[in-house]
């Protein structure tokens, strides 16, 4: 066991213990750690965004490379602040409209292909296609049935009776299975965060373990 002499590690370790103290009950030490975390994070992000966006992407290219096209973007960016004042608010809509229009223009084709068309193609597949194993065919059928049943469950313009009722109930089962899988993965993720903190306290702070 070799306790760390690094000030940063000590700050991290004491901060971790302070946050853990909330598990016992709300207390001033937890509050202090929480406020320090929020303050430090806000400061870090402000500097990172300002440096990466304003300095690296705007000021340097404008002054050292004389890329004067950036003035156009700079004016549009500055106009965003006009939305803060009631009298100038409508002028602030111009950069927003520009941003929405260009964003939609260059993002929609890719999103449509990846998140809609290819997903539909992936859902409706031939389970009996050549070369498929029985397991793969079953997977294809389960995916198709799951999508259809879930869509029927969310179709509210038909009465829940007869076939619609049964299919809709099957849709609920598929949804529950999905929620269960998500919950299981969430538990795994949260336990990993705890493991990460313990590893930090044991290995980096107290010098226990490999």
């Amino acid at each position: 066991m070799q306790v760390s002499t690094d000030v940063g590690i000590w700050v991290g370790a004491l901060g971790t213990l302070a946050i853990f103290s909330f598990l016992y009950r709300e207390n001033p030490v937890f509050r202090l750690a929480e406020h320090v975390l929020v303050g430090v994070s806000a400061g870090y992000y402000l500097v990172q965004y300002a440096y990466s966006g304003l300095v690296k992407k705007f000021w340097y290219p404008l002054t050292s490379e004389h890329n004067y096209w950036l003035v156009f973007g700079g004016i549009l960016g500055a106009m965003m602040f006009l939305k803060l004042n009631r009298r100038t608010r409508s002028w602030g809509n111009i950069p927003v409209a520009f941003y929405v229009a260009t964003g939609a223009g260059y993002l929609i084709p890719s999103v449509m292909k990846s998140m809609v068309l290819l997903q539909v193609e992936g859902t409706i597949q031939n389970p009996f296609a050549e070369g498929r194993t029985i397991g793969e065919a079953a997977t294809v059928l389960v995916i198709l049935a799951g999508v259809v049943c879930t869509l029927v469950y969310f179709y509210f313009s038909a009465r829940r009776e007869g076939v619609v009722r049964h299919v809709s109930r099957a849709g609920i089962l598929f949804l529950l299975a999905g929620f269960g899988a998500t919950f299981g993965y969430t538990v795994m993720g949260r336990i990993t965060l705890l493991i990460g903190r313990f590893q930090f306290l044991l290995r980096d702070w107290l010098g226990v373990g490999g």
């Binding site: 598990l23 016992y24 870090y44 992000y45 990172q48 965004y49 990466s52 966006g53 690296k56 992407k57 290219p61 964003g103 260059y106 993002l107 084709p109 890719s110 999103v111 292909k113 990846s114 998140m115 290819l118 997903q119 193609e121 992936g122 995916i143 999905g178 899988a181 998500t182 993965y185 969430t186 538990v187 795994m188 993720g189 336990i191 990993t192 965060l193 705890l194 493991i195 990460g196 903190r197 313990f198 590893q199 044991l202 226990v208 373990g209 490999g210």
Partner: protein, 279 residues
């Protein structure tokens, strides 16, 4: 279970559960448990993609996560870097999250040091770039224009590795390690738009959303949370934090299952007695 026992269980002090969880996670870290790791097909595909890269191939590594998900994703990033460097694959790393540069630098320096890699020739770190969607698209046109300088201010065109690498066409595989929906966006903007082959490493919470993209072939393989990291470490043959965490992970899961069963039994017993009960 009797109704009395059910009520007592329902009124159990939650701090006792926190303490129990803390102990079952802590003890296996102090006394490691060697549990078998069964490799899933998606992890095997992830491994195959990197294993298929030849000496000198270019791997673009997007380190898109911040300190809150380091415990899950650091083992993946480190294993990918070790795997790539061991095979002589060159790495172009970048980040689209403002909190990522510190993490990426630490892991790159560590893995490069282990394999004697030289900055600028074997690997580069381009740093953080704002506007994630624009960056993902623009990298398909010109990496050097999107990132004129690397993280330390060196002109990208002056880095030997970047001399022949300027768009997705020059990248053999994209690896996105992320704790958000970035894998889906890389799939939309780099894979669907430019045909860039890609794999991803995700937090467990996000893994359920990746199956759609894996199923449609947009993402060729993926790692799901710490389990995926442990599986990948096993395939690479370099056990790391992912493998170490599996003992605590399994004990934690067992406790959760026991608590869910007991909680439901207690709830049902209390309800049968007609006294309600907290679920």
């Amino acid at each position: 279970m009797s109704a009395g026992a059910g009520e007592r269980l329902a009124r159990l002090d939650r701090r006792l559960i926190f303490l129990l969880m803390g102990l079952v996670v802590l003890v296996p870290l102090l006394v490691p448990i060697d549990l078998p790791v069964v490799v899933s097909e998606e992890t095997r595909d992830f491994y195959r993609e990197i294993e298929s890269l030849s000496d000198g191939a270019v791997l673009m590594l997007a380190v898109d996560y911040e300190p809150d998900t380091m415990a899950e994703l650091d083992p993946m990033t480190l294993a990918v870097l070790r795997h790539a460097f061991r095979r002589g694959v060159r790495v172009v790393a970048l980040s689209l999250y403002p909190g990522a540069p510190g993490i990426a630098q630490r892991l790159l320096t560590r893995a490069a040091g282990e394999y004697g890699m030289t900055y600028g020739e074997d690997y580069v770190y381009l740093g953080y770039n704002p506007d994630w969607s624009g960056t993902m698209l623009r990298l398909g046109e010109s990496i050097r224009a999107t990132y004129p300088k690397d993280q330390w201010g060196t002109a990208t065109r002056d880095l030997p590795l970047m001399a022949g690498v300027d768009s997705y066409e020059d990248v053999d595989l994209l690896v996105s390690i992320n704790g958000s929906k970035y894998a889906e966006y890389w799939a939309a903007y780099a894979q669907a738009r430019y045909g860039q082959r890609m794999v991803s490493g995700n937090t467990a919470v996000m893994a359920v959303f990746i199956y759609h993209y894996y199923n449609t072939g947009q993402i060729s393989g993926f790692l799901a949370g710490i389990r995926g990291a442990a599986e990948y470490e096993k395939l690479v043959g370099l056990p790391g934090d992912g493998t170490i965490a599996m003992g605590s992970q399994s004990c934690g899961h067992l406790l959760i299952v026991i608590l869910i069963v007991l909680g439901n039994a207690g709830y049902l017993a209390a309800r049968r007695r007609g006294t309600g009960g907290r679920a």
